[in-house]
Symmetry: C2
Subunit: 256 residues, 2 copies
DNA sequence: ATAATAACCTTGTCTATACATATAGATTTG
DNA sequence: CAAATCTATATGTATAGACAAGGTTATTAT
């Protein structure tokens, strides 16, 4: 298992006499290597013993450095195996609209997602720009309705590049999230994302599908997924019924 | 400086022979004490040496436990002084609408907030229920417009209990955030909050103030602040122009 | 060949110690 | 009296070593 990345411990400049703590210098070194893609997701870091002896420092100091990266979610350690670069989490950290599947369940309702359409399309000018691909490239298009107790809550339109040219599996329809669709059909994995949350009114089509009158205020979320080379690989637009959905956030850490 | 809280190290049940790590048991003990208000914000934890000798464990193990709490933001350590319980942060972790002051500045625009009105009102039924106070209690009422380059962006209405009966200071009008208003005029400090983000259409009054046509889609944020006893001490409603504002979130940790 | 075992490597926990650095209060000094 | 210095105490960094426990691989026994 050879490391094909351009990573090497020699590139690190650790000054043991600096006022900056060694563990901090070391943590920043690894963080930089990961951010600059010299260490890729899934790759192993050198073992703690290797790092310690390479720099002539204590293993505990190495552990202190790595624990910073673990806390930041950039690496994960497995007892007996090693420490590995994590897959970037594309969780919604700012708005929780995507995870509303769980919220619906907690309210005792039955969440479901119905696929309205799944087909191969040729990219027009707008889609080509959004996905950074030539005109008329073949892409996958999905139209999905998310329901709670069979009442429509959200309407989603999603596009991914169609690199693998493989058929759409039944199993994918159970989790039609943008990142899993992108992982299944593009030739690379999503590692970063951009989300924009806006408010809007429903169009004629959206009103029909969501079963609301035209012009109902809605949340509108636009999401773009990127791969390691910062190339967009998927694009999606979700519309959430404003009369049925709200975002709640509790701050502070007291019981009761 | 006597600790008047019901905190004592004796209450901790640390099992040194348990499979659960000592540092973890210790961290959970302190977390529980803080959550149950036996250790209040600003109060000092016992020193690391005290804790270590009390339980007959190493100081490094104590530090490991405390570092968990520091990472969780529940305590902060000051070199040479001690370790103290932190004030709960009421930052917007889920939606960043409140911090849009900064965002406006980053776009090279000039943010400003104009006080439309600040007066003492008697609570009606609705406000009494929201703040958990008797009918006709005296409260402070604020109406604020936030502008960017003199264009109105948001309209806010805020209520706080008027416990201190002290006049409204000029200085408060520079930072008319709900938590600073509550801190200034209620008899306790806000330590937790609830925020709800919704979409709506503007009313006649809101349209006039924001300078948009009636029925424009807007973000609507309702915020309630609570003190240590879970008593609501402030309530606010913010309306953000949907045609001028959007929430953007970037996930993943790669450069460029 | 297959299965059980042993050896080895990895991270996880814990100890005891040393010194650095920041703070606050007491003491000394001008 | 006031400023400077010392001293005690607190957290911060770093070390070396021991053992635990999960995981992999090579060895051995059947």
């Amino acid at each position: 298992m050879s490391e094909q990345g351009s990573f090497s411990l020699d590139q690190a400049e650790i000054d043991k006499n600096s006022v900056i703590p060694i563990y901090y210098q070391l943590a920043k070194f690894f963080e930089k290597q990961i951010r600059q893609r010299n260490l890729l997701p899934g790759e192993a870091l050198p073992t703690e013993a290797e790092i310690a002896s390479h720099f002539g420092i204590s293993r505990m100091t190495v552990r202190r450095a790595i624990s910073e990266l673990v806390a930041a979610g950039m690496v994960y350690a497995q007892k007996g195996k090693g420490t590995f670069v994590a897959m970037p989490k594309l969780d919604n950290i700012v708005f929780d609209l995507n995870n509303f599947y769980e919220e619906i369940k907690q309210k005792g309702m039955k969440p479901n997602s119905k696929l309205l359409e799944a087909k191969i399309v040729r990219s027009d000018e707008l889609l080509s720009k959004r996905l950074g691909i030539p005109l008329n490239t073949r892409c996958l298009f999905f139209r999905i309705v998310v329901t709670a107790n069979d009442e429509p809550l959200a309407y989603e339109r999603k596009y991914t590049v169609y690199a693998k040219q493989k058929p759409i599996l039944e199993s994918e329809l159970k989790d039609p999230s943008l990142s899993s669709l992108a992982a299944a059909h593009s030739d690379s994995l999503p590692v970063s994302s951009k989300k924009v949350l806006m408010v809007s009114k429903t169009t004629e089509e959206e009103s029909l599908i969501l079963g609301v009158s035209r012009g109902t205020p809605v949340f509108l979320m636009v999401q773009t997924l990127y791969d390691l080379e910062r190339k967009p690989i998927a694009w999606g637009l979700s519309i959430f019924r404003g009369d049925r959905y709200k975002l709640t956030s509790y701050d502070g850490w007291y019981d009761e």
